[in-house]
């Protein structure tokens, strides 16, 4: 049943403008990250380990992700769920034996796969961009992949939150508003101490997963991302998502 339902979710994505949204998500991050190529001293640093060209790209990418993901994930979730409100799809699924919470979980699996793919594509394309412009310094695979993995977790938690919000409140403006507010939270968390960012889940976690940071003197330092915090966020988000969708299952139409 789950497999057929997931296949249906991919079929429903047709003409839902998922591709343009994902394109903006990936191309936006790539474009903003690539601005770093034009920054002063970047070209000179490409062959110099002390210049940390890969870390400079990572810093640029983590900033662009933080600016774009909250709103685009809200749009993506809203598109998936609004069709159920508009087309009486909750009822159609329910009378076919698929409870609303189950449908939300199915949507999470299907559209979540798109989110994961987009996140991996962002990371991969920024790496490819770096390689193409000719960075010859050794690629910090662990740091890069670690950041990508943590970003996947934060994006999925945020996406799940927006799915629930869009399913619970029929007016999709609320989800969009929260998306915009999310950008604001994510941006202000960059100026907060790390411990305070923990209190702005999940948006504050974009700051917690940041692998590199510019100091006031302009130097770029590597950070130890909060793996434990992000894993805790993922676990708590997963449990909450299950609990809320179970509650949706019992909701009357």
């Amino acid at each position: 049943m789950m497999g057929r339902a997931v296949a249906n979710e991919f079929a429903k994505m047709r003409r839902l403008r998922v591709t343009p949204v994902v394109f903006v998500m990936v191309a936006g991050v790539l474009a903003v990250s690539c601005v770093e190529f034009t920054a002063s001293g970047f070209v000179e640093s490409m062959g110099d380990p002390a210049g940390k060209p890969w870390q400079r790209l990572l810093a640029s990418m983590s900033f662009s992700v933080l600016m774009l993901s909250p709103i685009l994930l809200a749009v993506l979730a809203s598109r998936q769920v609004d069709i159920e409100h508009q087309g009486n799809g909750w009822l159609l699924s329910r009378t076919s034996g698929l409870a609303p919470g189950y449908l939300c979980r199915v949507k999470f699996v299907a559209a979540g796969a798109v989110v994961v793919a987009a996140t991996v594509a962002q990371s991969g394309l920024v790496f490819a961009g770096g390689a193409l412009v000719g960075i010859t310094v050794v690629f910090p695979a662990g740091q890069w992949l670690g950041y990508t993995a943590l970003l996947v977790v934060v994006n999925l938690v945020l996406f799940a939150l927006h799915l629930l919000l869009s399913a619970r409140v029929e007016n999709q403006l609320l989800g969009m508003g929260v998306g915009v507010l999310g950008v604001f939270f994510a941006v202000i968390s960059t100026g907060l101490p790390q411990w305070l960012s923990h209190f702005l889940p999940p948006w504050g976690y974009y700051e917690l997963i940041k692998p590199v940071e510019y100091r006031e003197d302009g130097s770029l330092v590597s950070l130890a991302p909060s793996y434990v915090s992000v894993l805790a966020l993922g676990a708590a988000g997963g449990v909450l998502f299950l609990l809320v969708t179970r509650q949706f299952d019992r909701r009357e139409v």
Binding site: N8, R14, I83, Q86, G87, G89, L91, S93, S96
Partner: protein
């Protein structure tokens, strides 16, 4: 096909459905009637497990409708509740394919359902460009594709023009002829009068009547009409014992059985009032329905 025992649904202190004992025989078209707000939709939603009953039990196809049996039973029940479900950004064919995949149906089942509702020529159109009648037919095709043993339709003719209503009527007859039990609700008797073989009339969440058309007629006693030379005096005389009023030159007496009618005739003869004729008023099913619902102040 459907049996409920003491089925009830309460929201706060308000009982929307109260002590309902439904009996829907297999193979019939069950016309579920009642004024707006009488509890028809809530009852149908309870049958489909969309709303949890506050009290009572539901048995469908001999099995209790429970969380554990819901999915399997729903596989044999087609339904159309509220507005017809369909994704506007997809075509009719793509919508049908969703149902096909979800319920693991064959191409033949889908083709047959589409043919039944005569929607074959519109399958490539996006549903957002469909008329209400076409959406209704697509909803029916989705319900029929699983080849249901039971079809539950909540006011399927709502918002349709006369041609659309006739189309749905024809469809219901065809589906029932093919052996599917159909339960269809309406607040207008005229819409399902000709298709329903069994009627259930609901008022304020309670069953006012359940049975065949003939049984419904038998339950209601038509007025007795007396044509006489002195209608005013006859009306005044009979008003002492019966509900009587003047209808032109005719005296109309309500609620009289045959014995009471004989008594009225004797009385008038005894008072030397000439009687030109005594007959029962002709009554349509609509009148009976209205009597029944108005009687209960609905």
């Amino acid at each position: 096909m459907i049996i409920t025992h003491d089925l009830g649904k309460t929201y706060g202190n308000r009982a929307v459905v109260d002590g309902l004992d439904l009996r829907v025989p297999e193979g019939c078209v069950y016309g579920f009637l009642g004024p707006n707000g009488s509890g028809k939709s809530t009852t149908m939603k309870m049958l489909l497990s969309l709303v949890r009953p506050t009290s009572g039990e539901i048995h469908i196809m001999g099995r209790p409708m429970r969380r554990s049996t819901r999915r399997e039973l729903l596989g044999h029940i087609g339904s159309l509740i509220e507005s017809p479900p369909a994704y506007g950004h997809l075509t009719g064919r793509e919508n049908m394919r969703l149902v096909q995949r979800l319920l693991d149906l064959t191409d033949n089942q889908v083709t047959q359902a589409v043919r039944t509702v005569r929607l074959r020529d519109h399958l490539e159109k996006k549903v957002r460009d469909y008329s209400l009648g076409m959406k209704q037919r697509l909803g029916l095709a989705m319900a029929l594709a699983r080849e249901p043993r039971l079809l539950i339709l909540d006011e399927p003719t709502n918002g349709l023009d006369p041609a659309g209503i006739e189309e749905i009527r024809r469809l219901l007859t065809k589906v029932a002829d093919d052996g599917t039990t159909v339960m269809v609700s309406s607040h207008l008797l005229g819409e399902i009068d000709r298709t329903a073989t069994v009627l259930g009339i609901l008022g304020n969440g309670r069953m006012l009547f359940q049975g065949t058309r003939d049984e419904l007629f038998a339950r209601s006693v038509p007025d007795v009409l007396v044509d006489t030379s002195e209608p005013q005096r006859a009306a005044a005389l009979t008003a002492r014992w019966h509900t009587s009023r003047l209808d032109g030159a005719t005296v109309r007496l309500s609620g009289l059985d045959d014995k009471a009618t004989a008594g009225v005739v004797s009385l008038l003869v005894h008072e030397d009032i000439e009687i030109h004729g005594v007959r029962r008023d002709s009554q349509s099913l609509e009148d009976v329905f209205m009597d029944l619902t108005e009687e209960r102040g609905l």
